[in-house]
């Protein structure tokens, strides 16, 4: 198991390297420098600025310097906000993003797995269609359309929940953003779960288990659940990535001060340093989450470990 983890870690390194390199060069090669869109600066100040951010160095030198600092955990400076580095801003926003994202992840998995198992066990019966229709909406309707409608209904008309903001971080503030973020993924997970559960329930080893007379409950929970979960688990890596990036728009809609909002602001302000730092951070986080999911996958399926 430890060897497996180590091998996966090794294969993640090129992914990270390519991602960081791509981000770095896309932004550095962008037409126009980071300070172009501000009022024309006096040449000497501009030169100072460029020197301060090492933009006067040859490109490869900038790249190597960036990589070197990244290795030490430094995500680089913001070009606009002078008071905080990228790392500091992320440190401020991360707890909010992780709270919303983590809860949404749990909710998506719980709803998705439960709905999927239900759908597989009661195929093509009334409630299965109702669930399918609800999840279909989740799959197709984008969250920036669902969110305002939910805000109107639950926040304004019924006034059950706050329309947005973080408040004291108590659950009423979390309900809508977490739900909006989780819903499409609950839909995807339930589709995966339903399909794989149906497949597993039709498999021979389930027939063996049923023939042993160990009971329907035990058959589903002990025998079918684990193998049926494998496609779901392999989706969780990408799902964690989608949730993280999906939280960008959810944080914006609900006014949650997470890293997604900083990211949007930085992009709108063309704060190249902040954009680069945030994207790199997101990538690292996503690669890390994928790695964790791979390990979970290996725990579920003994055949994977051998490879």
């Amino acid at each position: 198991m430890l060897g497996f983890a180590f091998r996966r870690l090794l294969t993640a390194i090129p992914v990270v390297l390519i991602a960081v390199t791509a981000c770095f060069f896309i932004l550095r090669l962008a037409p126009g420098g980071p300070f172009d869109q501000e009022r024309a600066l006096p040449p000497d100040i501009l030169a100072n600025l460029r020197a301060h951010y090492e933009l006067d160095l040859p490109l490869y030198q900038q790249y190597l310097n960036y990589l070197w600092r990244l290795l030490q955990g430094d995500l680089g400076p913001s070009f606009v906000t002078k008071d905080y580095t990228v790392g500091e801003q992320i440190a401020i926003g991360l707890p909010y993003t992780l709270t919303v994202g983590g809860l949404a992840f749990l909710l998506a998995v719980v709803i998705g797995v439960a709905a999927g198992i239900y759908g597989a066990l009661y195929q093509n019966k009334g409630l299965d269609y109702v669930i399918a229709a609800a999840l279909m909406i989740g799959l197709v309707v984008p969250n920036f359309l669902v969110a305002p409608i939910l805000q109107l209904v639950f926040g304004v008309q019924l006034a059950w929940l706050p329309v947005g903001g973080w408040g004291d971080g108590s659950w009423p503030f979390l309900v809508l953003p977490v739900f909006v973020l989780a819903f499409p993924h609950a839909a995807r997970i339930s589709r995966l779960m339903r399909g794989s559960m149906i497949e597993v329930l039709n498999s021979n080893f389930i027939k063996t288990a049923r023939a042993k007379g160990i009971g329907a409950r035990r058959t589903v929970l002990r025998h079918a659940l684990k193998p049926a979960l494998t496609p779901v688990v392999s989706y969780l890596g990408p799902a964690a990535g989608y949730l993280l990036t999906g939280s960008i728009v959810v944080e914006e809609i609900f006014g949650i001060p997470g890293i997604g909002r900083y990211f949007i602001q930085a992009a709108l302000n063309r704060d190249y340093g902040m954009v680069l730092g945030t994207v790199v951070f997101y990538m690292l986080l996503i690669v890390l989450l994928n790695l964790l999911v791979d390990l979970a996958y290996a725990l579920l399926d003994p055949r994977v470990r051998a490879r």
């Binding site: 063996t208 023939a211 042993k212 007379g213 160990i214 009971g215 002990r222 003994p302």
Partner: protein
């Protein structure tokens, strides 16, 4: 063990039918089967795929697909399995009767260790603790001839060979010492040498444990050394039922004769194998009269018009054999006809 209860059969199927609702119509997979099995007896059910031989026992075990329905009665030691609630059926499955499936590669759960899959049966049916159950499971693994059984217990199915896995499946079936084991094509997916070993294992266990065995197979060659009796199924019905020697000696039904002729043999010069012409019948719109008539070279008008009942028949020059029933208007026609005259003896088949 035999004398007291021998009056009532262990398993008794009466008017047993299985139907599947499909978009194209209703499939009559098994039609009005009557069959009995005594304690400790080994019965082979033989037929082509689609003859209903597997579905017959899947239905008894409550393992039919969602669109399947059973009718009639299937009594195991007096209790009608078809009338049991799912819970009551679960109390019987695995304890009083067990099943060994065709493909050992897929019959075991890939995600669970061997010991879990074995011992849970004992935990559920006999209320044993995990430790007791694992000890008994280990003993059973050794009994079915698995080397290094202690190590195997902690392995996953993918780490075992096909023959080894089939032994595990057999051990699993035997754990609760059931009165009846149904083995559905237990050797089909295995190499020839392994096949012989597994059949040998069945024979030993049958003698040792006095367990009744139903051996479902499409291969009459498998039957010869193991079974006491044979029931040949075609299109969801039994067309011939006989003692194994009597059947191999002279098959009464043309289909049984054709199956026998399709076994590769060494005692026949040339060793040619006769394939059965035609295709298995459509079970949504079965043929009129005798279902085998479109493929039977002895068929006449009566066979087309009227379905023959399954009843005892006499062979010329022999007394009526009470244990032998045939559903044919022209029994022993094949035996009289030239080509299939030299039916193989069970021994020849076994060693061939």
């Amino acid at each position: 063990m035999t004398s007291a209860s021998s009056s009532a059969p262990l398993l008794e199927l009466t008017g047993y039918s299985i139907r599947f609702a499909t978009p194209d119509g209703e499939v009559q997979a098994v039609s009005g089967l009557d069959l009995t099995l005594a304690e400790g007896e080994t019965l082979a059910i033989v037929g082509e795929s689609g003859s209903g031989k597997s579905q017959c026992f899947n239905g008894m075990f409550g393992l039919l697909a969602r669109n399947g329905r059973t009718e009639g009665q299937a009594r195991l030691a007096g209790a009608d399995l078809l009338a049991l609630s799912p819970k009551a059926l679960d109390a019987v499955r695995g304890r009083d009767m067990a099943m060994v499936f065709q493909d050992p590669m897929t019959a075991l759960n890939p995600a669970l260790k061997i010991k879990r899959q074995l011992s849970e049966t004992l935990e559920v049916h006999q209320g044993l603790s995990r430790r007791e159950a694992e000890a008994k499971s280990l003993a059973m693994l050794k009994r079915v001839g698995i080397p290094e059984a202690e190590r195997r217990m902690n392995q996953y199915p993918h780490e075992l060979s096909g023959g080894m896995r089939q032994r595990v499946v057999i051990a699993m079936a035997l754990l609760c010492r059931p009165k009846l084991i149904v083995a559905d094509e237990p050797t089909t997916a295995l190499d020839v040498t392994i096949q012989a070993q597994i059949l040998e294992l069945f024979r030993e266990l049958g003698q040792e444990m006095r367990t009744a065995l139903v051996l479902i197979t499409h291969d009459l060659g498998v039957v010869a050394g193991v079974a006491d009796r044979v029931a040949v199924m075609y299109a969801g019905r039994i067309v011939e039922e006989a003692g194994v020697d009597a059947l191999f000696d002279a098959p009464a039904h043309p289909y049984a004769a054709a199956l026998l002729a399709s076994i590769p043999r060494i005692d026949r010069d040339g060793g040619s194998v006769e394939a059965i012409p035609g295709r298995p019948p459509n079970l949504i719109h079965p043929p009129s009269g005798c279902p085998f008539h479109p493929r039977c070279r002895f068929a006449d008008e009566r066979c087309v018009a009227e379905r023959p009942p399954l009843e005892p028949v006499a062979r010329e020059g022999h007394a009526i054999d009470a244990g032998r029933r045939v559903a044919c208007w022209h029994p022993f026609a094949a035996a009289r006809a030239g080509s299939a005259a030299a039916a193989p003896t069970p021994e020849a088949v076994l060693h061939g």
